[in-house]
């Protein structure tokens, strides 16, 4: 044969389910040799070059650029130059993606698995068919549903009400009422409006039936506020939005954050830590270690040590399983021009400050130039997000799944505080917020972790052990 081979969407990590061809480096008909860059593929986390593993010719491009395609989708066909077009078309037509239900070139995600069949409810109480269907769908216990229909029949409305949380109506309360006999006949609202605006109903001509004074009759007499008369009136121009579709990274960020914020029950544990000693020690330590370690590097180190002591925080949550890790792989949130990325400092609990500083500066440089590899961003057991450089006091972060927790770091603030000797002095404080996935981490466990972290930061000698 003419050595026809399929080029499919690669799978670069366990979490990768789809990718996008950002750009083809070759045209149909171009020959390439092993090592040539074929195309750029974007995933949830990174954009990478795809290099050729053999020599061949790009005969046919199947996948359009810029469309998210599942792993295994046929992207292109490689074949020797002498292969005839009909054979290649036949190959495309016959292609079945391995291990997926996706046909060649089809850009659709596989249909979701059918939902579990609703529980069947057996009842001898009278109930409407739709009400029964809803009760089964929502798994409502009919024993607690009152039937308001004739002879206690349960209606759709009854089941729907039973499925909802108790109402908390906002009450506006009673109003005073003038109960003097009426001399002029207006609707209750007309009377109320007239009283509000100090209008004597006797001066209002009623246009309702039998001369009754209506709301509109009173409103017509309410003086309109005089318009301000300073120069020409301001006329707002048209305020039309510029509509920009989300790019790949923004879409991914939006989807993952929505998923995390809506499916993970977050709890937030806040602490303020004194950082005077850390700031003082950092200058000396950086001289000794010969690096420019940032406050954030020290925080990564402190978090890593604290994680090593509290393995119940150093976790990932996968469905109903909690994965405990022997070492702390700490993701650091980096804002880049193209969006938020979270490269990972691996084994941070085993690294010295200078090693962490070297690793983070390398990762940040890669992030800023868009060169992060999949391995740089895959996994992680904990995250740190620092917005202190923007001068804000404190904030709460959304967990980066499947990790179990994220630490949000604010700016160093100067604050007056009572010291141990009873004097009041300024000290430097840092606000930390730990967001925990409450499915896996209880408040007490998170609080113990925070206490250790606080201790390490306030007495930073422990960071050098």
């Amino acid at each position: 044969m003419a050595n026809i081979r399929a080029f499919t969407m690669p799978k670069w990590g366990i979490e990768m389910t789809e990718g996008t061809v950002a750009e083809w480096m070759l045209k149909e008909g171009d020959a390439f040799v092993r090592g040539d860059t074929l195309c750029l593929i974007e995933t949830d986390k990174i954009t990478n070059d795809v290099d050729a593993e053999f020599d061949s010719v790009l005969r046919k491009v199947v996948a359009p650029m810029g469309e998210a395609l599942p792993v295994g989708t046929l992207l292109a066909v490689f074949a020797d130059a002498d292969a005839d077009d009909a054979a290649i078309d036949a190959f495309v037509g016959a292609f079945k993606a391995p291990n997926t239900a996706v046909a060649a070139g089809a850009g659709k995600t596989p249909a979701p698995a059918p939902a579990a069949p609703p529980r069947i409810i057996e009842t001898n109480r009278p109930i409407s068919p739709e009400a029964l269907r809803l009760a089964q769908e929502l798994d409502i216990d009919l024993a607690h549903v009152e039937g308001t229909g004739r002879n206690g029949r349960i209606t759709y409305q009854d089941v729907q009400q039973a499925s909802r949380p108790e109402a908390r109506p906002v009450l506006l309360g009673p109003l005073d009422l003038d109960d003097a006999p009426e001399k002029h006949y207006g609707s209750p609202l007309a009377r109320r409006l007239a009283a509000m605006h100090g209008i004597d109903l006797g001066t209002v001509k009623g246009t309702g039936a039998r001369g009754r004074i209506r709301k509109a009759d009173v409103l017509a007499l309410v003086p309109q506020p005089a318009a301000a008369r300073v120069g020409a009136p301001f006329t707002p121009g048209e305020n039309r939005p510029r509509i920009a579709p989300m790019d790949k990274i923004r879409k991914v960020v939006a989807r993952r954050l929505t998923e995390a914020a809506t499916t993970i029950p977050h709890i937030y544990l806040r602490a303020s830590v004194k950082v005077d000693d850390l700031l003082a020690m950092r200058k000396t330590a950086n001289l000794v270690l010969g690096v420019k370690a940032s406050i954030n590097d020290y925080l990564v180190r402190a978090a890593a040590v604290a994680l090593a002591r509290h393995p119940d925080i150093n976790i990932q949550v996968h469905g109903e399983a909690i994965h405990h890790f022997p070492h702390a792989d700490i993701a650091i949130a980096v804002a880049t021009e193209r969006g938020l990325v979270t490269p990972i400092v691996r084994g941070a609990d085993q690294m010295r400050i200078d090693q962490i500083a070297t690793a983070t500066s390398a990762l940040i440089a890669k992030a800023q130039t868009g060169k992060l590899a999949y391995a740089d961003v895959d996994g992680g057991t904990f995250s740190i997000s620092n917005l202190g450089m923007f001068g804000l006091d404190a904030f709460d972060a959304i967990i980066n799944p499947p990790q179990g927790a994220i630490l949000a770091v604010g700016a160093v603030m100067r604050a007056l505080a009572e010291e141990n000797d009873g004097e009041i002095r300024f000290e430097s404080r840092l606000a930390l917020t730990l967001s925990c996935d409450h499915r896996a981490i209880d408040g007490a466990a998170g609080a113990r972790f925070m206490a250790t972290l606080k201790g390490l930061i306030e007495a930073p000698e422990g960071l050098f052990e």
Partner: protein, 336 residues
Amino acid sequence: MAQMMYRDAVLQTLFAEMERDENVVVLGEDIVGGMGTAGGPEAIGGIWSTSVGLFDKFGKDRVIDTPISESAIVGAAAGLALAGKRPVAELMFADFIGVSLDQIWNQIGKFRYMFGGKTTCPAVIRMAYGAGFNAAAQHSQSVYALLTAMPGIKVVTPSTPADVKGLLTQAIRDDDPVIFMEHKALYGTMGEVPDGDYAIPFGHARLCRAGQDVTIVTLGLMVGFCEAVADKLATEGIGCDVIDLRTTSPMDEEAILDSVEITGRLVVVDESPPRCSLASDIAGLVTTKAFASLKAPPALVTTPHTPIPFARELESNYLPSPDKIEAAIRQTLAWR
């Protein structure tokens, strides 16, 4: 302002209007009240004491005792009205409109229309209605819904002595036939009544309590129940607009809708059975014209769909009560 009873407001208004206009004639069973008795014609003055002294003042040509025949009473009133008089007929019990229904429904309600507007029929038919007296199924009914369903007649249901004066004055002066329904349980209630000439236009509901959380539409005896419940709930910060309809035909649609547009919740309290009723009519009005404002389905507090029981315990359980009204209000507030 004078303090007087509901029944005295009826009597004094009849007296004043008969004095004002010699065309006003009253007729009914035993309204003179003592004809043929040892005490003389005026011994009793009608079983409701709403016509005491009229015979003495205005004489037999204007105060007419009739045979026990509602058909005859209403038929005579119809004829009087066509002949230019302003008759005020009394039916002792509203339950008996059945035998005079042709006169009410097919005659007085339709004259003006069938004669092309060339005549009017200014008849007033007073009737005592309502339950609470252990008077059983044939002497306790609230038939306003049945009459409200008939085009061509106006239906008035005063709840206070002041409204009796204002509405009965308007009824007698009105050129159209008016059914004037007096609740038996209200005859003995006291209230302030404005002095002098006092007529309340029809179709003008009365706001008895003002609040912004629930609209309660009611009439007759139920008004007092609703006011008491509204006062109780006000202490919890729950504000009720209590609307006394005063007239069910014409009905003050504007007052109801304006209120529901603010509160978003409706409770209708009506002491008659629920099917094809005033309560369902008002619920229908609100759901068709104020659907967008509703935060909960309208709650209807009515009697069961049965005849009124005789036994006291059953009757008191049959009627709407303050407890049932309060429960309905809380139910609309608890809607999820």
